[in-house]
Symmetry: C2
Subunit: 210 residues, 2 copies
Amino acid sequence: MGIAERKEKQKQDLRKAILDASMKLFVEQGYENVSIRKIADLIEYSPTTVYLYFKDKNEILFNLHEIGFQKMAEYTADIFTIKNPVVRLHKMGEYYMKFGLENPEFYDLMFILQAPMEALQTIDNCQWKSGDQALGKLKETIQECMDKNLIEKGDVHAIAMAIWGMVHGMVALAIRNRFDKLVPREEMVPMMNKGLTWLLNVLDASGNKT
Amino acid sequence: MGIAERKEKQKQDLRKAILDASMKLFVEQGYENVSIRKIADLIEYSPTTVYLYFKDKNEILFNLHEIGFQKMAEYTADIFTIKNPVVRLHKMGEYYMKFGLENPEFYDLMFILQAPMEALQTIDNCQWKSGDQALGKLKETIQECMDKNLIEKGDVHAIAMAIWGMVHGMVALAIRNRFDKLVPREEMVPMMNKGLTWLLNVLDASGNKT
DNA sequence: CAAATATACTTAACACTGTTAAGTTGTCAA
DNA sequence: TTGACAACTTAACAGTGTTAAGTATATTTG
């Protein structure tokens, strides 16, 4: 059915157009300036048409959040060739923070805003695939560090949460302006990296001790 | 001027009534359910009256955010008697996370939401006093740990950011539902504490090594 | 081929939001 | 008594997400 196929493609095209428009607004004007009406204006359809392609705004934001994970994967792609797992761990943290600070809107969506998680709870089979996958890579690396006696052993799950927490925490505090009066803009990234390096050094030292 | 005094008191009373109403809505119904109209309904005044006492909604939220810091101070009040600075550091982290998980709405306001920081930028002499003070206590404790050779030495400022980042990161990920599919509700607190304990142990060990 | 149906989209509306300009009281001082 | 000032309200603006109902257009069926 060539005709049905073409129709299906047109539907997918409009769906993509909605996401593209959302992303344009989102990246250029920030999260709070994305509205259904503005999206509709951009694609030159009525606002209600958007609801024929997405259940609600949360579902749109969830889709953008997935795109964010793809973008982040690009940042960290060339890291997994690094042999030394401690160095890899260090670089993972560094690039994670770099991504967050360079793409604050996406970072917000992926790790701070409630909206995409609300979409997840009502639609999907209720697994946060993107997040799980990213955390999985972190856990693997930590496990490898432990296996090779490069860092102090412990509950991998808890430690992964702690390390993720640390990099996330610094990025989140930075992009939500809690570091503004503490550190000048240009010293922010070096300072955050210094904190991470300090932790990794401490870890490494205690590993060498054993 | 007894009469002018009474008037002044009445003004302050209404101001407090607005904050009380805001807090009630805020704690009971969550951040996104606090609106000027709902506040006005609760205090039985018209919505515009609120604007005679506060510049805008951000200013109300900024005041609530300050109350949050007072509340947090109550949590950590009995900690500063602890002699051993490493143990104190540990307890600070533990109680910080406890506060965050038990008062997610306040935590949101204090460390995640943009609104109170926006109020800060347009009104005050532009110093985040509450945050600075809290971070100050953390830095003192870290400095003390270093002075007593209990933890690896380094840039106190960067390390304070890293440690704060870690506890904040875990709380923020937890209350924004990024740990939901990873850790069951009842295991969340123990797991987070395990992560913190792991870090502190590593720090302590490297300190003893020297 | 004509009638019925399904598809794609729009109009209009509901119930909210923060915020402001203009108007209305009531109280106090000259 | 009049005028000014303070406290408060009404009405409105411009926006938000979302839904019910209506309108063309195209496709399928009798």
